[in-house]
């Protein structure tokens, strides 16, 4: 089994932190890399959007949006009934698992590119679309029956968070600029993408190792849920992509999006909308369990299943 080069960066960060090494990754660089990756992914999708724009794409967008609403509704009852979590924390974690991880998506893209597998280039649009619905569903699930909902705040947190804004912004800029103008910024946003992703994953490995230490504190339920939910989301995402008739690469990307969970946009939005929720549990589940699982086990597994079951 050949391991993808960007995943090795993740392992390096994880092992180094586990062995208590003193790699000091600057906070500013980490934040800068998040901005870079969001914009780079958005621009790449936007520049390819024109050639794919059709009625079937609009149908896919609506279905993907519905998918984003459904995922937290699957996670919530599991967290409430089996995890015996209170309503607010269950809704908070459900929102994390209904949303998507741009880094996991980027790892899946790097995986496909290393294998030379094509995919639909408009996928960043789906990434942006899937960021928002889960936040709204999570806030609605957390509200008690008789309590009112601040619709303005809810819309603001769902639609104007950093992830959604930069991804949509990137898609829009890429779409308006077109492939010719995009060539002028390609040396930064295209050529450096894999290197920047490797650096970002080094930091993610460190964060994941730190978060996984908290697993003992929160119990094995969070670990079990953090493995089960990506399998459910990945299966549903794969089936949705298959029903669209997407390519092998596109099917893997939608399965990966279904399997991934947010750790940037949703925690920021939910800490404002639900300040009483324990963000530590959700971050531990998403960063300490699901992200490493998807990067190390999930993506190669989803690809193997998709390749052999649907495309051979």
């Amino acid at each position: 089994m050949q391991i993808d080069i960007v995943v090795v960066f993740f392992l390096l960060g994880f092992i180094a932190t586990f062995l208590k090494s003193d790699i000091d990754f600057p906070e500013g660089l980490y934040k800068g890399l998040v901005l870079f990756l969001l914009l780079a992914i958005g621009l790449k999708g936007g520049s390819a959007l024109e050639q794919y724009f059709s009625a079937s794409l609009i149908i896919q967008v609506v279905a993907v949006l519905a998918f984003g609403f459904i995922l937290p509704l699957i996670a919530f009852p599991m967290l409430r009934y089996f995890g015996q979590l209170d309503r607010i924390n269950a809704a908070n974690i459900a929102a994390h698992y209904g949303s998507v991880s741009v880094a996991t998506y980027a790892v899946a893209v790097a995986f496909l590119e290393s294998k030379g597998v094509d995919y639909e280039a408009y996928f960043p649009l789906f990434v942006a679309i899937l960021e928002a619905p889960a936040i709204a569903v999570g806030i609605l699930l957390a509200k008690q029956r008789n309590s009112s909902v601040n619709l303005k705040g809810l819309l603001h947190e769902s639609l104007l968070n950093q992830g959604v804004l930069l991804l949509f912004g990137g898609v829009l800029i890429g779409w308006l600029a077109g492939p010719q103008q995009m060539a002028s910024i390609a040396p930064l946003f295209k050529d450096l993408f894999h290197g920047a992703l490797g650096l970002f994953l080094l930091a993610m490995g460190q964060i994941a190792a730190r978060q996984s230490k908290h697993l003992i504190e929160y119990g094995t339920f969070i670990a079990t849920f953090g493995i089960l939910m990506p399998l459910i989301g990945g299966l549903l995402g794969g089936l949705l992509a298959w029903s669209f008739g997407l390519s092998e690469g596109g099917t893997l990307l939608l399965a990966t999006l279904g399997a991934s969970c947010s750790y940037i946009a949703v925690p920021a939005a939910m800490s404002v909308a639900l300040p009483q929720a324990n963000q530590g549990v959700a971050i531990t589940a998403s960063l300490g369990v699901t992200f490493p699982f998807n990067v190390l086990v999930g993506i190669p597994l989803y690809y193997s299943l998709i390749h052999k079951l649907l495309f051979s």
Binding site: M1, Y81, F82, G83, Q84, G219, T220, F221, A223, T224, I227, L228, L231, F293, L296, V297, P300, L301, S304, L305, K308
Partner: protein, 70 residues
């Protein structure tokens, strides 16, 4: 030995993951890692469930002894 529903969920899910991972691996898919992850989860969940069951039994026997002494 009895399990609460969280423990039962953990044990059932981890066993299911082992089963799915092993079955797919036997049929040639790269899913051994999934089976290993499921196995690790099962060991963790089972040892925690065992410990909490033992604690419950100890507490019950201590309460019984205290009542008997009174």
């Amino acid at each position: 030995m009895s399990f609460n529903r969280t423990q039962a969920f953990e044990l059932f899910t981890s066993l299911l993951i082992v089963l799915i991972g092993s079955c797919f691996a036997i049929f040639g898919y790269s899913s051994w890692m999934l089976a290993i992850v499921g196995g690790a989860l099962f060991v963790l969940s089972f040892s925690r469930a065992l410990r909490s069951s033992k604690r419950r039994t100890d507490r019950r026997s201590n309460t019984g002894e205290a009542q008997h002494a009174n």
